[in-house]
Structure formats: structure tokens, C-alpha cells
Amino acid sequence: AEVEETLKRIQAHKGVAATIVINAEGIPIRTTLDNSTTVQYAGLLHQLTMKARSTVRDIDPQNDLTFLRIRSKKHEIMVAPDKEYLLIVIQNPCE
């Protein structure tokens, strides 16, 4: 309920283009994009997050990945990993 509200707020926030929630296996649960794009994003970002997390933990096993941001020319992709889920938000930074 609260989380739902938070997600709604994020979606309604200025500049946010899309929100995707994917589970531990990389299957999208909730999305605001069309299916094919969602699946593409989900697959690619899942792999990238796993790699990033592996890197962080390899360096120091007591550490863990909290957030991943990919800023490109057109937008910014933000990935918040959780134990079982992955929350992806694509935002156009207002510049």
C-alpha cells in the first residue's frame, strides 16, 4: 500500500519516463512500457546489475550494491537492487 503510493509518486514525478519492477530471475512484474521494450530492458539491466553487484562484493564481501545509475545522452537509467527485486526507473533529467 505505502509502497504502491511511493511507486505512483515516482511515476508521476517530473521527467520520469518509465518504471519497471523485475523479480530475481529477470522477469518483469510491473511496467509502464510496452512488452518488448520492457523485456529488453529487464534482461540487459538484470545482467548488468548482477555484474555490478558481483564486482562490489568481490572487492569487499561485506559491502553490497545499493544503487546503480547510468547516465546517457538522452536519459538516465536508475536501478535500485533489492534482495529479490530490481526497480528500474528511466528519467529525463531536467537540464
Binding site: V3, T6, R9, I10, P61, M78
Partner: protein
């Protein structure tokens, strides 16, 4: 014809150079020749040869010719020089000599097989040899005579030896016979049996360092759990209950939406999204230091940062602001209404600077909130005072929207709005307790005993000289209305109370009926009193009579008085310096003073909100960052960054150590006070 022509040319050439042994100059000759006669081919060819330097014979070599009995040049020079000649000994096969030799060779070949006979037939060989030898010369002689006879004889000679060769066949000592037999092959039949394949699954994993670490941590936890299980049974019973509860909880969780598990990630994401949107403000907050302060001659500015607002609080005024002692970016805002006529509901919102668009916690209440305070040791407990006189404690750890504990009419709530609450140290039974001051003239201590709020009247603000004679001879005492109070940082029992009459009472927790001291502070209600965080004796007060006064609690008269041209809503000391404080007035301005730099004027006077529509109600300094938050009547909270001039530490001369710490602050203020005090003491004397 061409040869003759060549001869003529030669003659012409050799004429002038006849008899000379010098080799000619062919180039000149050639050119002459070419000029004279270009058409003849032979002449040209001869010229070229003459021109070649690799002549075997000189061109004008003379040769004696019999025909003309004269020396004539050789017309045709043979360019071939034979250096070596060897006569070969090969004869044409079909010529006479060739045939003769071939017959000889064939006779010799017949001799060879004859010679390979066995020992027993040696005689025969010899005979054969002899015979062949005989026949050979015979053959030769005859060959000289006639060719065909030769051939016939040669053929005869050839024939007898081959039959003899055929008869004598090679044989070995043993009679070797090869025999073989074949058995019947049994027909082959294939039989096979196939079992069901065991179900296979591909598994791949990488053994990373962190996976190993995780495994170890899990092991460790298991071991700890097993150790706990070894503890006495009484606890086991408890744990079983907990497990049952735990099971209930888990079943509830599994029933609830899976989305809830993402709450933490969603929170972080929201903050990041906000950071992106408010990127420039975040950068300003962190890094911007106004460079123009150097030119401003010690004046400073306030840079507006984020503005916090929530649509449900649009009609409510900010009545209280407080920073969380533990999380330096979290602050609580209490909403209510100062207007006596328009009393509505109240709200308590907790914002974090990391998320300016939505509060972290939202609590609503029926009555307007007038004041709030965080507990120092338990930063999740917020004490709140309401307009209707109640007090409550909110527990942020619990997910409920209702306060954990609330006072009621029965439990001794105030009869007037509660203007200030402050947490105290835990009492001797380790119960949480806090004080509240209200317009009903009572200062009450509330203690949380066994989940209930128990109140104790600490002091009653009786106004001197106002005892009245009530009916039946009762003595009624008029009670002053407390509007604010503050406890001393070090001296635990000492506290100050400001009242609506403009007086400030210095009180002690120990004495319930008497004040230690009274200050005639202001002409109107004292809106706020606050002890200096460093100096033990100094406190500040502000009032609706437009003044801000700084006091030394041992001296009756104020040390410093500032007139701010408008009712002062709130004043606050800065946490980093003992000489800096800020005040807000109802005309929308914020004033920042630094006594160390300028004793009489504010360093910064800035309009923070629109003048006529809005009034500022409260101000608070952030304990860590150079940020102040200001609340106004419209329910907005604005955060502002202090420019460098406003939070500058005094520069020490080079060579001296830069001293920091409370002692320095105290000394600074003390110095200032002494400047003010001495003439006063003199005046007093």
C-alpha cells in the same frame, strides 16, 4: 648483291685506315656510313656489328683470297669462336656401326642368364659359354657378310638358351602347401535395453569471494541459533510463542502483495529521482559558497534551497520545527493554527532533505499541534503538544498513524494549549519523561509508566500579587500563562519560563511554588526563550513587542536588545557558534546576527516569504550543515543556506593555534559580555 655492296663499303672504310693496326672507331664510321647510304640492310647490319664492341675479330681483318690475289677484308666475320670441341662416341642406332654394336650387346646379355645356372650345371654353362663364344665370333663374322643372316643366327643363338632357362624352375627344400578352411559364422543379433535417462539439469555458478563469505555468515548464524536453543527452557517457551507470532507474520506477509518487499528500493529510488529533479539545488546545498560575500563587507545572505510542502497542510500554519538528533537530514514539522477562531486538525510531518517532494512520515490529529520535541536518546520518539491541551508521544518505529501514548482529560491534560514540550532525562526508574508548559499556568511533568502517561504538576505559574478573594474565603491565585520554556543544558533542574505577560521566570524543578528569579523581560508575550548552547549564563528571548533580548541570568537587565520592527516569531541560537543567532519576524524577514562581528546590527536581513500574504512562524538551525529551515503560515517550510559570512569562524592570526571547542565559544561571548557588563555594573553601583 648485298655482299658486294658490303665489300664496297668495306673497301671504302678500310681505305684511309688500311695497314693500320689501330682498331677503328666504329662510331664515326657508322655515322658516316649512315649519312651516305641508309637504305641497304646489309650495310646497316654490318655497321652494327662493327659498332659492337665485343668483336671477335676486328672488322678490317684482311684475308688473303686466292681469286683476286689480294688482301681483302673479310666480309663476313664469323662470330663464333670455338673454344673447346669434343667428339662424342654416340652412333646412330640404324647405321651400320650401330647395328653391329647392338648385336654385340645382345650376345653379351644372353651370356648373363647362362652364367647364373646352378653348380651342377656349371659344365653346361661352360659349354654354353663356349658355345656362345663360338657362336658370337661366328655371328660377328657372319654379320659382316650379310645383315639378315646375322639376324637369323642371332635369333637362333637367342632361342636355345631361353628353353633351358624355363626348364630349370626354382624350387625349395620343403614342399609347402597352403590349406585353409572356414567355419560357419553364427548369425549375429543385436539386443539392447535402454533405461530412462536420469533427469539432468545444468548448473553453473561462479565461486566468488562474496559467495564464500555469505556461506560462512549463514553458518555462523546457524551456530548462533543453535547456541541460543541450548538456553533454559523458560526462554524456549517464549521463543515458541515468538515463532508462532513469527509464523503468523510470515503468513500475513506472503498473503500481502509481493510489491511490499521492494519498499526499501523504492525509497532509495524516489530519493534519487528527486535528486535528479532538484539537481541544481542539491549541488548548491553541498558546494555553493557565495563568493560575493567577500565584497559585502561582512553582510551575508541566505540562499533558498528546497521548499517543502504537502497539499494537506496548505491551510495549516507551521507551529513547530525540530531537527532529529540522530539523522541530520530529518526534521519534524508540526502543523496547526495560531488563530483562535479557526481551529482545525493538526498534522505532524517528518521530512528529509533528501526527498523534498514528499514527507517520510505523516501523522494527523484532531487538534492542531503546537509544539514538538525529539527525544535525544530515542530519536524515534516525538513528544507533541496539542492545542486542546493534550500531549502525546508518537513512535516513529511503529507503523501506526496514531500516537503511541496520549493524555486525556482524565490523566490531567492541560486546559489550554500546550505551547512547549521538552524531553527530560529518564527518571530514576528509567521511565521516559517530558515537561510541558501551557497557558493554563501549569508546568507538568509527564512520565511514561507502564505504557501510560502519568502527570505531575511541577510548578504553577502563580502571578505575584494577584491573589483574589473568592467566594467562601477561598484564596484564588491568578495563574500566568506560560508560552515557552527552556531547560538549562548543564544544570539539570534549572529552567526558564516565558509567559504571556512578558515575564521570564527562572525556576527549579525542586521548588514547586517559588521561582528562583523573575525577569521583567518584555511588554508582550514572550514567544521564545532559549539558553545559549555554549555559555552557561546567557539566554535569549523574543517577543511580540518587536524586540529580541539577550540576558545573563545573574543580571536583571538585558545585555543586548534588538528592535526588529515587527513582531518576532521565533529566535534560535546557532549550534556552531555562541555568538550567532537568528530571528524571524512576522513581516516575512529573517535576521541573522553575529555578536562577534557586529553587536548592533544584523548581518543579514532577508525577506524570505511574500510580505503581506504570509508570516514566518519558526526558525531552526541544522546542527550539522549551514542550513536553516523556516516555517510559515501557509504550511510551507523553506530551507536556506547560510552564506559564508554568516557562519564564519573568527580568523586567528597566523602563528597562533586555531582553537576550537566550547571553551572558545564561551570565552568569545564572555568577552563581549564584559564589554557590556562593566558599564552596567558601574551604573548599578
Amino acid at each position: 648483291m648485298p655482299a658486294k655492296a658490303a665489300e664496297r663499303h668495306r673497301q671504302g672504310q678500310s681505305g684511309p685506315s688500311g695497314g693500320k693496326a689501330v682498331p677503328p672507331r666504329p662510331a664515326k664510321a657508322v655515322s658516316k656510313k649512315r649519312d651516305e647510304d641508309v637504305s641497304t640492310e646489309a650495310g646497316e647490319g654490318v655497321d652494327e656489328w662493327a659498332a659492337a664492341k665485343t668483336l671477335v675479330k676486328p672488322p678490317d681483318q684482311l684475308e688473303l683470297t686466292e681469286a683476286e690475289r689480294a688482301y681483302k677484308p673479310i666480309s663476313y666475320v664469323d662470330q663464333m669462336a670455338i673454344h673447346f670441341s669434343l667428339n662424342g662416341n654416340m652412333i646412330l642406332k640404324d647405321s651400320d656401326e650401330g647395328r653391329r654394336q647392338s648385336i654385340k650387346l645382345s650376345a653379351a646379355a644372353k651370356k648373363a642368364p647362362v652364367e647364373t645356372f646352378a653348380v651342377t650345371s656349371e659344365e653346361a654353362e661352360i659349354k654354353g659359354e663356349e658355345s656362345t663364344e663360338n657362336t658370337q665370333p661366328a655371328g660377328e663374322e657372319e654379320a659382316e657378310r650379310s645383315g639378315t643372316a646375322e639376324v637369323a643366327e642371332a635369333a637362333e643363338v637367342e632361342e636355345p638358351p631361353p628353353p633351358s632357362v624355363k626348364e630349370q624352375k626354382l624350387a625349395n627344400q620343403f614342399n609347402f602347401i597352403e590349406r585353409a578352411s572356414r567355419t560357419l559364422n553364427n548369425p549375429m543379433r543385436e539386443r539392447a535395453c535402454q533405461s530412462e535417462p536420469t533427469p539432468c539439469k545444468n548448473f553453473s555458478a561462479t565461486a566468488n569471494q562474496w559467495k564464500i563469505y555469505d556461506a560462512y555468515v549463514e553458518e555462523l548464524q546457524k551456530m548462533e541459533r543453535s547456541k541460543e536453543k541450548e538456553k533454559p527452557k523458560a526462554q524456549i517457551a517464549k521463543r515458541e510463542e515468538e515463532k508462532k507470532k513469527g509464523r503468523k507474520l510470515t503468513s500475513l506477509e506472503s498473503q500481502s502483495d509481493d510489491i511490499n518487499k521492494i519498499s526499501k528500493a523504492a525509497k532509495i529510488m524516489e530519493r534519487m529521482v528527486n535528486q535528479n529533479t532538484f539537481d541544481d539545488i542539491a549541488q548548491d546545498f553541498k558546494y555553493f559558497e557565495d563568493a560575493s560575500d567577500e565584497y559585502r563587507d561582512q553582510q551575508g545572505t541566505l540562499l533558498p534551497l528546497w521548499k517543502f510542502q504537502y497539499d494537506k497542510t496548505k491551510r495549516l500554519a507551521v507551529t513547530a520545527i525540530s531537527w532529529n538528533p540522530k539523522y541530520k537530514d530529518l526534521f519534524a514539522v508540526g502543523y496547526g493554527s495560531y488563530d483562535f477562531m479557526k481551529q482545525g486538525q493538526g498534522m505532524l510531518l517528518l521530512y528529509t532533505m533528501k526527498n523534498p517532494s514528499f514527507p517520510e512520515y505523516v501523522f494527523s490529529s484532531e487538534s492542531g499541534i503546537m509544539c514538538l520535541d525529539f527525544h535525544n536518546d530515542h530519536p524515534y520518539l516525538v513528544a507533541v503538544g496539542f492545542y486542546d491541551g493534550n500531549v502525546a508521544i508518537y513512535n516513529l518505529k511503529k507503523a501506526t498513524y496514531q500516537p503511541s501514548y496520549k493524555s486525556s482529560a482524565k490523566s490531567g491534560k492541560h486546559t489550554e494549549p500546550v505551547w512547549q514540550v521538552k524531553w527530560q532525562k529518564d527518571d530514576m526508574d528509567n521511565n521516559l519523561n517530558f515537561f510541558s508548559v501551557s497557558s493554563d499556568g501549569r508546568i507538568v511533568s509527564w512520565t511514561l509508566v507502564k505504557n501510560e502517561l502519568v502527570h505531575t504538576d511541577v510548578i504553577k505559574l502563580s502571578v505575584e500579587g494577584t491573589t483574589m478573594q473568592g467566594p467562601e474565603g477561598l484564596q484564588l491565585q491568578m495563574l500566568g500563562c506560560g508560552t515557552s520554556f527552556d531547560f538549562h543544558k548543564k544544570i539539570d533542574y534549572l529552567f526558564l519560563v516565558g509567559t504571556e505577560e512578558g515575564r521570564i521566570y527562572k525556576c527549579s524543578k525542586c521548588y514547586s511554588s517559588q521561582f528562583l528569579d523573575v525577569f521583567e523581560a518584555h511588554h508582550m508575550a514572550v514567544d521564545s526563550v532559549s539558553w545559549n548552547p555554549y555559555h552557561l549564563k546567557v539566554f535569549i528571548s523574543c517577543s511580540s513587542d518587536w524586540t529580541v533580548k539577550i540576558w545573563d541570568h545573574t543580571i536583571k537587565a538585558p545585555m543586548f536588545v534588538y528592535d526588529l520592527n515587527s513582531a518576532v516569531g521565533d529566535v534560535a541560537w546557532s549550534p556552531y557558534s555562541s555568538t550567532v543567532f537568528a530571528a524571524v519576524t512576522t513581516d516575512g524577514k529573517a535576521h541573522v546576527f553575529d555578536l562577534n562581528i557586529n553587536k548592533y546590527e544584523a548581518l543579514c536581513t532577508q525577506l524570505v516569504v511574500a510580505k503581506k500574504k504570509n508570516k514566518i512562524t519558526h526558525i531552526q538551525f541544522n546542527p550539522v550543515y549551514p542550513v536553516v529551515i523556516i516555517g510559515d503560515e501557509r504550511g510551507h517550510v523553506i530551507s536556506l543556506k547560510l552564506s559564508p559570512n554568516l557562519h564564519r569562524m573568527p580568523k586567528e592570526k597566523k602563528g597562533q593555534e586555531v582553537k576550537k571547542g566550547p571553551e572558545v565559544e564561551i570565552a568569545k561571548l564572555e568577552k563581549l559580555l564584559n564589554l557590556v557588563r562593566e558599564p552596567e555594573s558601574k551604573a548599578g553601583k
